[in-house]
Symmetry: D2
Subunit: 136 residues, 4 copies
């Protein structure tokens, strides 16, 4: 059990029927994706062809910010607001889709950090969509 799941287990109040496994998975996917995107932006800066990677760096930066904020919003349960949660998950899934598309293009051309990052984006996008479904 990850620390995220442990924190959910020890929450002192009702979690309102949310699917804990989907929630924990989404939080952890957001954290992993935020890290991968921050690292990928920096790895792109160290590439010889950085001039061809500027869109990737920007998309990485947005995705890192969205994933970080989404992980925080999902970690709070007091005064839960389903509409805001959904809007944040939508925006996060959209950022992950854009960044995953951009990174996988470069990954296919041999940039390994973009490939690893694209996988983190795909997992996070899927985890966001799964959680949106689980929220009903």
């Amino acid at each position: 059990m990850t620390a995220t799941a442990q924190m959910l287990e020890t929450y002192p109040a009702d979690l309102g029927g949310v699917d804990r496994a989907a929630l924990a998975e989404c939080i952890d996917a957001c954290l992993a994706c935020a890290q991968a995107c921050t690292a990928c932006a920096d790895a792109c800066l160290s590439e010889q062809n950085v001039a061809e990677l500027t869109k990737c760096i920007r998309t990485n930066a947005d995705c890192a910010d969205l994933c970080g904020t989404t992980a925080r919003v999902l970690s709070r349960h007091t005064g839960y607001d389903a509409n805001l949660t959904r809007a944040v998950l939508d925006a996060c899934a959209m950022a992950c889709k854009s960044c995953g598309d951009e990174c996988s293009r470069h990954g296919e051309m041999g940039m390994q950090h973009c490939q690893v990052c694209a996988e983190a984006c795909r997992r996070c996008e899927q985890a966001c969509r799964n959680l949106i479904s689980a929220l009903g």
Copy 2:
């Protein structure tokens, strides 16, 4: 001219026809709202009746995170993605609406920090909606 407007003035590439005044105003409103919400959450913690303010503190925390991330996304123009910008502005306006509603209830009951924070939330919500309109 604020530093935000100056940074837009000195941007070395095309900004894609975006309304610079609406953009600068929205970024500055997000920064001010993020600060007010962080400070309001902490001020609530120092109130005698903190137990009645837990939803306010949570809403403040979400709003601060959303506004901070929105200010960052809006400060980037490389590889601009109108759909993501709109999704982020939607989520931010929603967070500002919730937080503004919650804070203004407490503001009416005499909590001055909630009153100041509610005004920052209203301004930011409006600035997000204005920018969404300006984006077309």
Copy 3:
């Protein structure tokens, strides 16, 4: 291998002799601690005796912010600045120490989320100190 370690493996330039294992462990400990602190602050808000937990909530919030920023700074290697890295790690270790002390006091009195959070803080504090040593 975690995604963090994979991103370090695929970094396209020299990492300047840094101990990759210590670096990856510190980044992951920061991410886990940031999440635990955000969740613990919210769990405290849901406790009956929230009025006795206000210092814990504030310390959680600071620690979450410091850990999040430290994870980001450590994920960048372009134009590496050892002095800044050390200053950030010092501040982060200090935040983790304060938060770990505060949370473990409440953990001993039966608050399980504080106990889980205290452990995340201890691990992160130690990982920061290990990395400071590894940096020389």
Copy 4:
């Protein structure tokens, strides 16, 4: 009076003798610097000679993160911890110094966004140092 100063005016508890003007000025300087650095990193990405600006982009990113976290820590007064405040201000001043130095080099060579950003960094560095002095 800025919103930041208004939030300090309406704080419901003792602020522990801190110089409110120095505190408000430092918070506002951090917010302005975080925005300028985020915008400058993106403006650098749009420059023809982005390959010569990679260190600047990285330094911008670190400075934006440090300034954002510092503004948050300084906005909290519950359970105030002078040692942590000082460590965070030290790290922030150091990030502003590095980024101000890097940006002013490019500013002197005609990059206006770097010049505007360098000024925001100088102001923030000075505001951090003034607040450290005011804290005693």
